[in-house]
Symmetry: C2
Subunit: 422 residues, 2 copies
């Protein structure tokens, strides 16, 4: 049986014959030519030939900003490429990315391609199990500033964040190996601070240390950080390629959750007529490659991604329906998806007054992530964390932030500072 991976493109063109374009892609990016082939050769080559799955043409309404486009889905036989993400991407969007106004907006996989990807080692449930927190959204905080700080400075910042009751702390993604805070020593002092804070909060905590440096030495760096006690890793996936994440996630010695940072994603997803859609870039491919936790720009704060994109990423990270990931011409995909869900983390510009909105959109299965909204709290960093925890508690109990603030001074101060967004 021939199995296919399917790519869906949005192609903008004022007057193209989209049927012809679709056939051109299906043939051109697989067997090269078809109609010229002798019949005997066609029989042999059929298993390599791409197929047009669907073409949906959007004709403009006459409004000058509304442009003509078509969503074209092409099925690529998976025998044509090896079972790795670079091979898939180069096949479906290598040359084609340069062919006019075209954006890759969805990917589905053959069952044999998908079988090469165990996905997140921990996933959402595994992260909750490590923290022992199952019934509420988690809270993460980011260091305020780290460049030029020494170990003592980092330790202090870490302690203040942890003492406020956050569940996860992540390195700044721009903290690289440096003489002041090398990864092993940084992990060691930060986890010492975590332990100290834990005596106060009674909570567990994950610290995602930033995995950086040369590609060939990423696994070694990860092992170094883990031996020093790191219980999570942060990784700038797009600067290294999805395959580097896949290798880390499938490495048995990388025994901690991996958090995918979206650095560089803005070079790829925002343009309407070029690039790769957010739900593919930060959703499906991150989960496929094994990210346990995935950060992406929230629609609430300073770095803005449209809410529809956020919801599409959320769906891609959490869905347990095979039909969202698997493609088959022949059979329905009603089995549960084998990939564990990745924890979604809408990020940037988050303050406690946004918690009701985040939980309305994401429910309980979300990590609320804040930087300035914790460190910038008028009563200090510890109060900043507490205000967030209070906002989460209030919202999950169905109490308005304003009401809850009456008996919670940290939340009260936060609301006075940043307001509440409904």
């Amino acid at each position: 049986m021939i199995e296919y991976c399917v790519a869906t493109y949005r192609c903008y063109d004022d007057k193209a014959d989209f049927e012809k374009k679709a056939t051109g892609i299906a043939v051109g990016l697989t067997v090269g030519s078809w109609t010229d082939l002798p019949e005997a050769r066609k029989t042999e080559m059929e298993k390599h030939l791409g197929r047009v799955v669907s073409i949906e043409i959007h004709e403009p309404s006459g409004d000058s900003v509304d442009k003509r486009y078509a969503d074209i889905a092409i099925a690529y036989p998976d025998v044509n490429f090896s079972r790795d993400i670079p091979a898939l991407l180069v096949t479906v969007f290598g040359k084609l990315s340069m062919d006019g106004q075209i954006k890759l907006i969805d990917l589905k996989f053959s069952s044999s391609f998908l079988s090469a990807f165990p996905g997140p080692k921990f996933g959402m449930q595994g992260v909750r199990d490590l923290l022992g927190v199952h019934n509420r959204p988690l809270l993460m905080s980011i260091f305020k500033s780290v460049i030029g700080h020494d170990l003592a400075g980092l330790r202090e910042q870490f302690y203040l964040q942890a003492a406020g009751g956050v569940d996860l702390i992540k390195d700044d993604e721009i903290l690289f190996e440096n003489p002041l805070t090398p990864i092993e020593q940084r992990v060691s002092v930060c986890l010492e601070a975590a332990h100290q804070a834990s005596e106060r909060t009674g909570q567990k905590l994950l610290y995602a240390a930033n995995l950086t440096g040369s590609t060939a030495r990423l696994a070694e760096q990860a092992r170094k950080a883990i031996s020093a006690g790191a219980n999570a890793l942060l990784f700038n996936v797009l600067a290294y390629g999805y395959d580097a994440l896949h290798e880390l996630a499938t490495d048995p010695e990388v025994s901690v959750p991996i958090m995918a940072h979206p650095a560089m994603a803005g070079a790829l997803y925002p343009a309407p007529n070029h690039g790769i859609g957010a739900s593919v870039l930060l959703g499906k491919l991150m989960r496929l490659a094994g990210a346990d936790i995935v950060l992406f720009p929230s629609p609430y704060g300073s770095v803005v991604m449209p809410k529809a994109d956020n919801m599409a990423i959320q769906h891609a990270l959490l869905t347990n329906k095979s039909e969202d990931y698997l493609f088959s011409f022949n059979s329905s995909n009603d089995a549960a998806l084998s990939l564990a869900p990745s924890f979604p983390v809408p990020s940037a510009g988050i303050h406690p007054g946004l918690v009701p909105l985040i939980l309305r959109d994401f429910g309980t299965d979300v990590i609320v992530n804040a930087g300035g909204g914790i460190h910038g709290h008028a009563m200090g960093t510890i109060a900043g964390g507490q205000a967030f925890r209070q906002a989460i508690d209030a919202t999950t109990q169905g109490i308005s932030l304003q009401d809850y603030a009456l008996s919670h001074p940290e939340l009260k101060a936060a609301i006075e500072q940043w307001g509440v967004k409904q």
Copy 2:
């Protein structure tokens, strides 16, 4: 002395205070905050602080398509990041890529950052030396279709290309490890065909075998291909990240030129207000990472890149002026650049009638690259290669293709088939 790498951005915004935005970037992506710091701390942190180098504001002319933007150059102290391309990119365009309409349009490097990059191992001169061709543009051809072909089919295609007098043959970038033509056997039969053709043409030939598969095994694959006789490698750089190329280029066992394919580049360079400019993406970073030969979409054929972008890539690949790559606040950079030039290859849609245009724009330092323009020749593949060589000979001798065609039937047929573009 503080050394800096400089990133230049084009930021679109109808009403932003660009001075404020520039300062926000310079501070926000380095020390985090500045004005709040105590004076003593400022002294300590100054070496980590980003600097605004320049702001050039373009006010719209009133024409509705002309938008307001500013080109903002920010200097980042190189002590803030490790000496690798992922660290640089994440620093200068990690988070910032997601911050509104912004495109990374240039990069310059500190001398210490640059010193970590030996650049192309062979470069343009090294490739010419391997081929023994110093006084004319080179000719490369691409397999027509390869998927589903067996070794005998590939060998035949290879021979026909080689016999026409091409200097280089590259694998299709979508040819991955597969049971029909695994890399070692492919290299072995193709080089056998090259040898056979060489007896006819008296020429040397480089065959760039496509290096694919998992990131951690790229070097092993490269060694395998090289032991089988591969004398060049093709690599889909953007699917793996620049650092993977850098590692291959600096690996002493990778003793052959590396050809960088632009697969996926269209997801990054074409949008005016997002992504990474072509001269950075396919120019400076490819050369820095060590590509000996760089392919990019030509402005002449089917896959279109604006000519200005082509010329900017060419400049980035060939310039020997330090000032194009090096940044310093203090000294002029009048020494020659230490990086060897990378061979530029404008690709896609090329036929012999375009050779005068290509040579007008690129001079002698170019690889003319064709697929359909060779295989599709009315007199066959061998004649296709010959027609190109004739077009190159005519143009370098200052003879018009039409005149040269009078005594060269292969060129004559090509002109009848595709015309001549002036």
